[in-house]
């Protein structure tokens, strides 16, 4: 397709631009990550050297296992997975039926309810920090992952995305099922959900990634070190952990997200453009 530069004119500067772009993007985005992965395998003494060695003189891949044991990362992985999976499950269980009701059943006041939900999107998250924290405390949910699950369920963006998708489902299919005597729950479970796989994938990935990346809410909710998520624990350990072990911990805690991205890249990137902004 025709873009800014005409196809015929492209040849001269094209190769140069391609090479420069490849080098710059690799240097900026890939090299630092590789640098961390490799540096974690240097000894603490070698890491302090100026200028740094590029290839480790002594490879100590055991750092990763050592970091896992020293920081008890297994525990924080479990904590983080409990939060992320819980956020995902509760968000879908709560928001899918809600979006279906708003989209298909059009209840009295439905528009008003949707409006009230979307209003929360316009509230900067930071503004609600203190009152939401105090509400969580009042409910006795501090140091309890349930607080984050329920907080995640009150996600207007998810409701909005799901509702918009349900709005576009073919009426005929739903009508046919209704005439066959299907109840609303059957309709949702048997007809709507199988048709909605693409949007469910997008919403699921959003939910898990957001929960894994979140820092401020786990920081506020989990004052008990034993319950903290990886992000909260790592920043707590950072000041007094040997650098090579800390780096290994940082790499290990990022692996699930990077893996998720590599596997579901198409869904992640589709969600990005389907989501907030229309072209």
């Amino acid at each position: 397709m025709r873009t800014l530069i005409a196809p015929g004119r492209r040849r001269a500067g094209y190769t140069a631009t391609l090479v420069v772009t490849t080098i710059v993007l690799t240097a900026v985005f890939v090299v630092p990550l590789l640098w961390v992965v490799v540096s974690a395998m240097k000894t603490a003494v070698e890491l302090a050297r100026v200028p740094p060695t590029i290839v480790p003189e002594t490879w100590t891949p055991g750092t990763y296992a050592e970091a896992w044991d020293l920081m008890d990362l297994g525990r924080y992985f479990v904590n983080t997975i409990v939060v992320a999976v819980g956020v995902w499950a509760v968000q879908l269980a709560v928001d899918v039926p809600a979006a279906y009701a708003l989209s298909r059943l059009k209840p009295v006041l439905g528009k008003g309810i949707l409006g009230m939900m979307l209003l929360t999107l316009m509230m900067p998250a930071a503004v609600l920090l203190v009152p939401t924290y105090l509400t969580i405390a009042d409910l006795g949910l501090l140091n309890n992952p349930v607080a984050l699950w329920l907080l995640g369920a009150a996600n207007a963006f998810t409701v909005f995305l799901l509702k918009r998708f349900f709005d576009q489902l073919p009426v005929e299919v739903l009508e046919a099922a209704r005439i066959d005597g299907a109840g609303q729950l059957t309709m949702l479970w048997r007809i709507v959900l199988p048709l909605s796989r693409p949007i469910l994938a997008v919403v699921s990935i959003f939910a898990v990634v957001a929960a894994w990346k979140d820092f401020i809410w786990p920081l506020l909710v989990f004052s008990d070190p034993a319950r903290q998520t990886l992000s909260v624990a790592l920043q707590r350990f950072a000041p007094d952990t040997p650098v090579n072990l800390l780096l290994a911990g940082l790499v290990l805690s990022s692996v699930p997200m990077i893996g998720l991205f590599l596997v579901f890249q198409r869904h992640v990137l589709a969600g990005l453009t389907a989501g907030s902004v229309k072209g």
Partner: protein, 289 residues
Amino acid sequence: MRRRVAENLAAYGFLSAALICFAVFSWYPIARGAVLGFQQVDFVSDPAWVGWENFERLFADPLFATAWRNTLLFTALALVFGFVVPFLLAVVLNELKHFKAYFRLVVYLPVMLPPVVAALIWKWMYDPGPGLLNSALRGLGLDGAAWLDSADTSMLSLVIVATWANLGTATLIYLAALQGIPGDLYEAAELDGAGVLRRLWHVTVPQTRFVLLVLLLLQIVATMQVFTEPYVMTGGGPEDSTVTVLLLLYRYAFYYNDFGTASALSLLLLLVLGAFTALYLRVTRKADA
């Protein structure tokens, strides 16, 4: 008629869990936040109405002005890097027909990292001694910088991290928008004798105006709430040069247990961000209509 009643019953059944979650974790906190700003709240005694006292305490705090100045500096610098760079990058990537998948993968990789991980990685790379940045600069024959250790460069250093970590999102959204521009517009402009820069300014920019504006507003709202980078990397220092509004809010609430003053600061933040949010609403509403 009976069907309507049944559907309404079913609908409210389906909505009930969401209504409870929104009520408890969104709507009630919004209302509560407005009241808290005018109360004295700690965990010791019952909340008491104190009028404007919390606001007066804020205005008397020398860090209050510092925090706003730092936050505005962060937002301004983040706009220079985080708004212009992804757009230009997207324009370049849109011209390239090779390695498309690689470029997309690479710019989005940091977005997948937990922000705490990105912050700690950069904190280590910023180390003026053995850190990667200064080592690379010295390798090029340049002097290194003090990065996080100097009040002059600390905020800039945080902006670089935030931009590095988030640039992928904006780039890919712009890239999608660029692909929606009809090719004949460029052809027509070229026939009219418009060079590359004029085509960029008179075709590309107007055609992506809506996306540019939306991301600009979203970015302002997001960067004014910056917290993780200063909290993890500098703790507000050196010399309070990275104390942001949110960091100050956090200190009031969770160091001093002064939830009233923290809420007063929230309300001021809401006032400022509300203007941008209202603008965002108007822009997107217009596009919907």
